[in-house]
Symmetry: C2
Amino acid sequence: MRRAFPVLCVLACISVAQAQTPDEIVAQAPKSDWQDIPPSDLLVMRLSGHRQVVIQLAPDFAPEHVRNIVRLAQAKWWDDGAIVRVQDNYVVQWAGRAPHPSLPSQASAHLPAEYEHPAAKTPLTPLPFTDSYAPIVGFSAGWPVGGDGQHIWLTHCYGMVGVGRDMPPDTGDGTELYTVIGEAPRQLDRNIALVGRVLDGIDALTALPRGKGEMGFYREAAERLPIAQVRRAADLPVSEQPHWQFLRTDSASFARYWQTRANRRDRFFVRPANGVALCNVPVPTRPVSLENRTPR
Amino acid sequence: MRRAFPVLCVLACISVAQAQTPDEIVAQAPKSDWQDIPPSDLLVMRLSGHRQVVIQLAPDFAPEHVRNIVRLAQAKWWDDGAIVRVQDNYVVQWAGRAPHPSLPSQASAHLPAEYEHPAAKTPLTPLPFTDSYAPIVGFSAGWPVGGDGQHIWLTHCYGMVGVGRDMPPDTGDGTELYTVIGEAPRQLDRNIALVGRVLDGIDALTALPRGKGEMGFYREAAERLPIAQVRRAADLPVSEQPHWQFLRTDSASFARYWQTRANRRDRFFVRPANGVALCNVPVPTRPVSLENRTPR
């Protein structure tokens, strides 16, 4: 009987610890669990109306596509381009100015199919949950991935950025990009090259009027939202470069974050799910001032 | 050697059959595979700017909540109400006019937790794929559901409509409703009462500016999109009643539809997934003229 109180106290402590929300866990993550994204991996898209979208590129997963996209940005390919397609519960897509000029000489029109990556060369923090699309799912260096033991591939979660293409064997040259704005269209995994994700300003894309044409394309040029310019952050003046970090997916904080997303025990929840889908574990990211960047 | 051509022909025929898109299968479904939705199960929300949203209610799954919602509509609860919350990749939520008047006398403020339903009383067409949230997933009378052998429950897929509530044991009275506009927040399954889904006009909600307040609530009343009125279709003049059908989820057409969504072999796809998530199999629905309704 005399031990009842301490035992209850231990249970209460565990209960309090479990009652954190995922956001609270992220807010408490130590600085060492956050990783800087270099400005060479950031693409800054400025839209008409002074909205800005920041995209993190994934050169480790699609090096040739990313290299082409950087060259296209340096050649001002998307300046005076536009958002050309908004399909509800699917994608927003953008393109260079129409009619399309020829590709700049430094960009390639023929890229390899960078749909998957050798597993042996790729770090993986697996999620212990089943998935309808891949034998293994988890995270690799901050990215949501699927895997089969042999290969690892980026997955079509909300906000991921991919390369529009025509019919196979075309793999897309990177001139038309899209981002996912609905239920994860994972059927596209390993069928299209994914090249990054939107870090900031996605609502400048998701809140656009849906296109009334086939596949959500705008019928009239006047419906398209103009793009002012797209630049790699590293190519912008230092004062205009955004700085972002992601929560390291091999960190203790990230482990607690996904565990809590899979088992919500904060006050609102009646019954935790004991599971979570890969794309329902968005990797936490945050803007950071230059002086707060993590020392290398 | 002489049999090579017929054999190839058989393979080609199978290949052609497999190369249909899900949309093509739906377009070819016979009339008998479509089921009328009675006007008593439809809620019509008219928004400022002449946009209309049509919602199918699910009285078989949440009878008390649906009954309350119908009574609230009949008492004009949402007339002069507004869209009050738009949280990116999560929900759009609407409410009656503010400050809230007292509940109409015919509506109840205390409803039971209609979070799940006895499996024995509920038809189920299971999907043969694993799920991170439920031991069984599939479809029941046109609705996406999870199950565990004992119970069946509606799932938080894109476009599903639920009842906002405060902390447990509150279950919500139906005065504030929301719809899912992003990656399926399945952690809410069996934690909130789902009462229906948006059939038409969801882009009038999904394309709204995101709220800048906490949880996506609009900070200023002027940001809210006004609701002109919400009525049950059966309570509207006959000439204003919309008519909708869903593809029967126990039909052969629906089976081919989900099988094809799980194994895309149409020309665009390099590699079929051999699987699909429950919420990536949206149940096909369509408007129908009164004279084309299926005879009972």
